[in-house]
Amino acid sequence: MTELAVTKRCEDDLVELDPAVAEHILDLFEERRSLTPNHGEVMKRVANARKLHADMAGGRSIRAVTWYDRNRDVCWLVAAGLHEGFYERVEELHRPRELMPTPTDYANFEAERPARLLEAAVRSARKAMEAALTQPESEVQLLGAPFPETYIRVANGKLWVRCVAFHKASGC
């Protein structure tokens, strides 16, 4: 699954917005880009940047821009704001190379790798627990790579956990 990230400069954009608007943009970013990171209308003068329309009820036109780093499979939220003059501002930021993730963003992203892994594990565990509760007696995978394969099963009012420590080599 594609990882999602926000540049420091974009966080500054979000801070300028109404908190509800900023949250709405983050919600849509997660919803639309985690599975299809390279989706959305392409910006004309910013290579590989894609528009994220985030209009809200009440006629508020909200816009954001994402950029998919295919090599690392990371989709970055690089700009956010109100529609008025938004894309012009994005283009202005792009020319002096202020739009895309900076070396500091990349260093922070790398530093947060363990936290991302844990977050993904917790997210996956929540879904698995729900599935295990709705299908008693069935084994449901709780964790996979990069973690040890772990399965859970609800049976007789108990939660069973099976963790695979070693895989038997095939043909042996």
Partner: protein, 105 residues
């Protein structure tokens, strides 16, 4: 621990590939050896602070000792050029926005 698979099929630009071929022929050396040398020179040119950052990034990926991992995270977060206390995680940004909104103006 997670499995780590460094990328080995690096693709060079056509120009660099041709120059690397030429260098290997002229010097009678293996291409990988020349690339290794270039990377070593690059690290030296970037300076000791950069080398320290790379060491931290490696520790973060390969070091099983939690204390070393925490130290590596701190190095990456605090010693990268232009370091800020920012987060790149969506959940982190959300938390910061909420904290900011909770503070009375």
């Amino acid at each position: 621990m997670p499995e780590h698979k460094p990328q080995t099929n690096l693709r060079l630009s056509a120009e660099r590939r041709e120059r690397l071929e030429a260098a290997a022929r002229v010097e009678g050396r293996d291409k990988a050896e020349i690339v290794e040398e270039a990377l070593r020179f690059r690290e030296e040119l970037m300076g000791s602070e950069y080398q320290h950052l790379l060491d931290a990034a490696l520790k973060l990926r390969y070091q099983p000792n939690p204390e070393d991992v925490v130290a590596a995270i701190a190095t990456l977060r605090n010693e990268a050029p232009g370091a800020t206390d920012a987060t790149t995680m969506v959940s982190g940004v959300r938390a910061r926005l909420r904290a900011r909104a909770a503070v009375p103006a």
